[in-house]
Amino acid sequence: MNITDTLKIADKEFTSRLFVGTGKFSSTKVMREAVLASESELVTVALKRVDASYEEDNMLVGLDHERINLLPNTSGVRNAKEAIFAAELAREALETNWIKLEIHPDPNYLLPDPIETLQAAEELVKKGFVVMPYIHADPVLCKRLEDVGVQCVMPLGAPIGTNKGLKTLDFLEIIIEQSNVPVIVDAGIGAPSHAAAAMEMGADAVLVNTAMAVSKNPIIMAKAFKKGVEAGREAFLASLATINKNAEASSPLTSFLYE
């Protein structure tokens, strides 16, 4: 791949377009090995899982690597006010102004609340955060978030944890077409082929967690996702060959030009 094909978000450049989550792994050790195998450079950590009072919190130790940037997320908060509070705690605890904004008041499907998310995003941008909002694949919401200054958008492909793939495909296409900030497909990606499909469409990156963490072999699966993302990206850059559509015979529309 072209060495200059990097993804820039705020002041950081990423070589890998695979972002990974750190929940649901069987052990911190497996999580670390999977993350390293994925070669991901941006790794999300649920703030609620981090115990700041613990000098050597296992999870963070597991992620201590020069390649890895930590992206705290606000998972567990139910509204904008809580999200802002959580983001400020995360900035202090993890010494980063990057925040993955997740507000899901619904505890079952963990679907993001668009209204609270927009409010929190606006406030957090003003407070100097690099805001990465997890949202529905809603093109208008994406533009509204872009207008308030978020650094990327993270629309879902399917409900989180379902491994169903790109159920929101038609809306993701519109979002990718319209967006002026990177589009990272988050949630629902259950197989490397889903990740490849998202990248072929022109997504800037994908975020994967469950499919890797609950695989029988998370480390091999991490490598498979890495390859899937790279294959999809390369296909996008090379412009996919098109499906041949045979023109239907119908009455000529341009014969008047030659009469």
Binding site: Q178, S239, S250, P252, F256
Partner: protein
């Protein structure tokens, strides 16, 4: 503040021109078969290599247009308010140095013209002037819009470029859309055709759509005047402009027009001819690039051309237009900006459309919401 100028300056006219001419048959086939097309595909579709595929392009353009717009045609009427102009434009009948009687409509005259246009059924109107900031400045335009607001659901203007705050003012009075054609994106050629007057400032004109976008104007109309320079290269830059604007002002609607140089008294012959097949190719290429954009055809074009083009991607048209101030009733003899070609009445045009299964849409806006 960033604007289209930053994007524009990254491109070279000659390189774009060469890259369009270099497009191959394979490039055209690839563009034809894609479902979402980009600016490289657009180049292929307007290239000479696409000429053998014109019928296929027409079928595709028709299919997309029907799917997105149905069997409808938005109608509008232009109303010329003034032929006063301080610009010298080599191709225009209103040019400052042309010795013609100058006329600017009074309130009473405007309302007389309005009565006639309304009697034909029109509810979307386009107000047109030259550029004469003392007589036909913002105050004049603002007054005209307020005067006619209750008579039309949708009011657009095609006048001199204005500042952002001026557009904001006109919007509060009921302005919906603004058409501002770059004429040509070729800087040196632009200078030659606009040697004097405010219009000679290429970049002020180029950045007008940015000011419109910031002012929240609902619709922005773009276009190049074909005949001044190579139509393919000018069309690429228009498409690039549209692409930039769509990404930057996501709440704005856009339209494209295709004016070809028409004769007028003391006028200029086109430097680069654009044939009927060329124009069909271009209209289809725009539709295949931008499925949602409004494509407009005026009465500059011939009857036969208009009868056929209404099925190929066009979604908005005028009829029975007069291009002189007061031309409908007040002063039928005042000098035209250019000669129109399709002089058929609105009734005849409506009938022609109906026979092709196209329903005329007169009203598609409400101007009392804001």
């Amino acid at each position: 503040m960033s604007s289209f100028q930053d994007t524009f300056l990254q491109y070279s006219w000659d390189e774009i021109h060469q890259s369009i001419l270099a497009k191959t048959e394979n490039d055209v086939i690839r563009a034809l078969e894609k479902s979402k097309r980009d600016l490289e595909d657009f180049k292929a579709l307007i290239s000479p290599s696409a000429k053998p595929f014109l019928e296929r392009m027409a079928q595709e353009s028709k299919r997309i247009t029907k799917r997105r717009f149905g069997n409808t045609m938005q109608m509008f009427a232009p109303m010329y308010l003034s032929n006063e102009c301080q610009n010298i434009c080599t191709y225009c009948g209103f040019s400052f140095t042309n010795k013609i009687p100058r006329k600017t409509l009074t309130d009473a005259e405007i309302l007389k013209e309005v009565d006639f246009i309304k009697s034909k059924g029109f509810d979307h109107i386009l107000l047109v002037t030259g550029e004469a900031n003392t007589t036909v400045g913002v105050q004049y335009l603002n007054n005209a819009i307020q005067l006619i607001r209750k008579h039309f659901s949708n009011i657009s203007i095609e006048v001199q470029p204005l500042d952002q705050d001026e557009y904001e003012l006109l919007k509060t009075s009921g302005l919906y859309g603004v058409l501002v054609y770059q004429e040509t994106y070729h800087q040196e050629e632009y200078k030659k055709h606009h040697p004097k007057g405010k219009k000679s400032n290429f970049f002020y004109r180029l950045e007008t759509p940015d000011r419109l976008g910031r002012a929240g104007i609902h619709k922005i109309g773009l276009g190049a005047l074909f005949g001044l320079e190579d139509w393919r290269t000018d069309s690429f830059f228009t498409a690039l402009h549209l692409h930039y604007l769509k990404k930057t002002y996501w709440q704005t609607k856009f339209s494209i027009s295709f004016p070809r140089l028409r004769p007028f008294s003391g006028g200029l012959d086109p430097k680069v001819e654009m044939t009927d097949p060329d124009l069909v190719q271009l209209i289809c290429a725009y539709r295949m690039l931008e499925e949602d954009v409004e494509l407009t055809i005026s009465t500059r074009e011939s009857e036969t051309f208009r009868n056929n083009i209404v099925n190929l991607g066009i979604t908005s048209m005028s009829a029975e237009s007069k291009t002189n101030p007061g031309g409908y009733v007040v002063d039928k003899q005042s000098l035209d900006q250019f000669e129109i070609s399709d002089e058929r009445s609105t009734e005849v045009i409506t009938k022609m459309l109906a026979e092709q299964g196209i329903e005329v849409v007169w009203k598609d806006w409400a101007n009392n919401w804001e």
